[in-house]
Symmetry: C2
């Protein structure tokens, strides 16, 4: 293996409808926070990856523009994209740059500004993430309809209920209302979720994550650099896993979970030499409430088919078996595609440093996990973090 790599600085902009800033200003909010957090300045960074889907309507080529505005010109050679998993794709790229010894310090910036595009265009862009020829073109499949396919299958096979899904939204909004950076700041009740407008049954408006603007940044350093800089609170990346699956959903063969997540999790657990039972705090990619329930199972937090029970029993609450999405999740914190994965790293880093304030999960082993899905399971990333 290569060098050990630690996260030494993190930043997260306020998520939401951010028409008060340009994409480069939005990126700078989290870059500045990450630099301050690490005690480094721009000149200390050897390589910068920009994670962005370059969402239509804003900038086609955001990397040099973000670099220019944030004083990072010179060190930003590429942008990466993996749909909604773009943030962890950027993190993986920065991780390997440091682990290989190419640079001592790398930065991954995730940013997308999505709200400048109207919702129907967004649905079309999302739909294009699936199989155009056989699915979008013929059936008009969009993200809610794809997740509805998974949800109905999970309900049919395992008896998962709309109420259980609603509990995921209630949890997300509860924690989101305690996180001043979250897109949604208001708690919701099970009843409100169940009564909200049906988008694609059984998925309702309040089962769905919003379309958000936001940025998040993480700084990665080698073990030597951590020592040299006398970083007091490094968070180590001990496992990484990634996988992808068919764009053509009909070919996947299973619709009660994401094979890509299962493969990525296996790879990450093996590398970190831990089991799912060791994980104390996690982010699970909850683009729709059913996704979090499937995530519990795919990541091994509970048995296959028991995801509904897991939320019902409060096992994914703060203080439960695994604290999941305690900053509000995609569902309430928001989901600016490029930023989401890095915002997950921000969240788990804060947790592992005991800096999460009134959202702090009690920790013994100090082991966290981040899980970021691209598309409807097209991509999946899992990273294991430890203090």
């Amino acid at each position: 293996m290569g060098k050990r790599v630690a996260i030494i600085g993190v930043g997260n902009s306020r998520f939401g409808k951010r028409d008060d800033v340009s994409i480069q200003e939005l990126a700078w909010e989290s870059i500045k926070e990450a630099l301050n957090d690490s005690g480094l300045s721009q000149k200390d960074i050897g390589l910068v990856v920009v994670g962005s889907t370059a969402y239509r309507g804003v900038e086609l080529y955001p990397a040099p523009i973000v670099a220019e505005y944030s004083g990072l010109t010179g060190k930003v050679p590429l942008r990466v994209e993996a749909m909604c998993a773009t943030g962890l794709a950027a993190a993986l790229t920065a991780y390997t740059a440091v682990s290989s010894g190419l640079v001592d310090v790398a930065m991954a910036i995730g940013v997308d500004k999505m709200t400048e595009v109207d919702t129907s265009t967004s649905l079309a862009i999302g739909g294009r993430g699936g199989n155009y020829q056989w699915e979008y073109h013929f059936y008009g499949t969009t993200f809610p309809t794809y997740y509805a396919l998974y949800a109905t299958r999970h309900m049919a096979v395992y008896g998962t209920t709309e109420e259980q899904m609603a509990l995921v939204a209630v949890k997300a909004h509860k924690y989101g209302s305690m996180n001043p950076k979250a897109h949604f700041q208001k708690p919701v009740t099970v009843e409100e979720v169940l009564k909200s407008r049906v988008i694609s049954w059984p998925i309702k408006l309040l089962d769905s994550c919003p379309i958000s603007d936001g940025s998040a940044t993480a700084i990665f350093a080698s073990e030597e650099k951590v020592k040299e800089l006398k970083i007091e609170n490094p968070v180590w990346i001990t496992g990484v896993g990634y996988a992808n699956d068919y764009a053509y959903v009909a070919k996947r063969g299973e619709w009660t979970g994401f094979k890509a997540t299962q493969l990525a999790a296996k790879q990450a657990y093996e590398m970190a030499k831990i089991t799912p039972n060791d994980v104390e705090v996690a982010t699970v990619h909850d683009a729709f409430t059913i996704a979090e329930i499937m995530g519990y199972e795919d990541l091994g937090f509970t048995e296959k088919g028991k995801g509904g029970k897991f939320i019902e029993e409060g096992q994914s609450e703060r203080g439960g078996k695994v604290g999941v999405n305690l900053f509000g999740g995609l569902k309430a914190k928001g989901h600016p595609l490029g930023a989401t994965g890095l915002s997950m790293i921000y969240e788990i880093t804060k947790q592992l440093r005991d800096e999460a304030g009134n959202l702090q999960h009690p920790l013994k082993k100090y082991i966290g996990l981040v899980h970021n899905v691209g598309g409807t399971g097209h991509f999946a990333y899992v990273m294991i973090l430890r203090r």
Copy 2:
């Protein structure tokens, strides 16, 4: 430093107007050739990076679609983009994945299908690569006009002539006509170049690279894997360099060369422990003829201001001091954005293996260089390859 990394397989599709294939079929042409060249099959590849600008009008999210068609589903977690340097951005990502020990074998696929978009839209897309707010929006700057700025400055400061620029095109077309995979198959004369239509003076139609469709693929392996597989002709990556520069061209401070190239070259030469004089064969990013002349200087093949003389004296010809763009360059081979950098790796790998047939450059040290620029110097990559 991390593990040593070798290129063990390369492929290059035919470049040109490829309306006979979809983007995934186009990608497969080079993937198949690279797999055959290495003796590996899809299951042997640990990680696949897709380099593509996802050129408008074709596919928004090409990575999973390319993966699906080419039997690589599972191992394709991301797409990378660095405008016209997307190919080497993908190569760098694959290189660090192997060098870090994350995987033993990685593949970088570069693909773009550009000709489905009309030329004026292409010019607008290119223009958006510059600074939108101050340049494109006010002045309508496009790629030819940006390069014309550099060309007129080089002419004014160093006395570079239109005839010297034309010689770059003549060289490119000569070699392109000997490369059956090149977009253009016909030699041109200095007179024809000089008399061709002015696009943005002094840049004429025949000073400009075409808009092309194409793909190229390279497979990267660790030293242990090279031994295990008993690869007979590995080509080692001994130096990598990258840099970026302001999107806002007016801020750059120099318009007779690309600072990003100069920085990337310095980094790559230092890592490879060689000087420019050691380089025997190279690809230089010749989006416009002036770009190749500036490249000779920025890469240190000749002194600053002497690039025009370098081509005039035949020093960049096959058999000259440094054989440059002997497969036809962007100018005649074509320039499908995502593919170009990997096509450069294909070319130099073939040269270093003495497999370039009637385009073979005579080699003593077996040291080659690839140079890929993104935008109008927004990004630059340099890699040093050795047999």
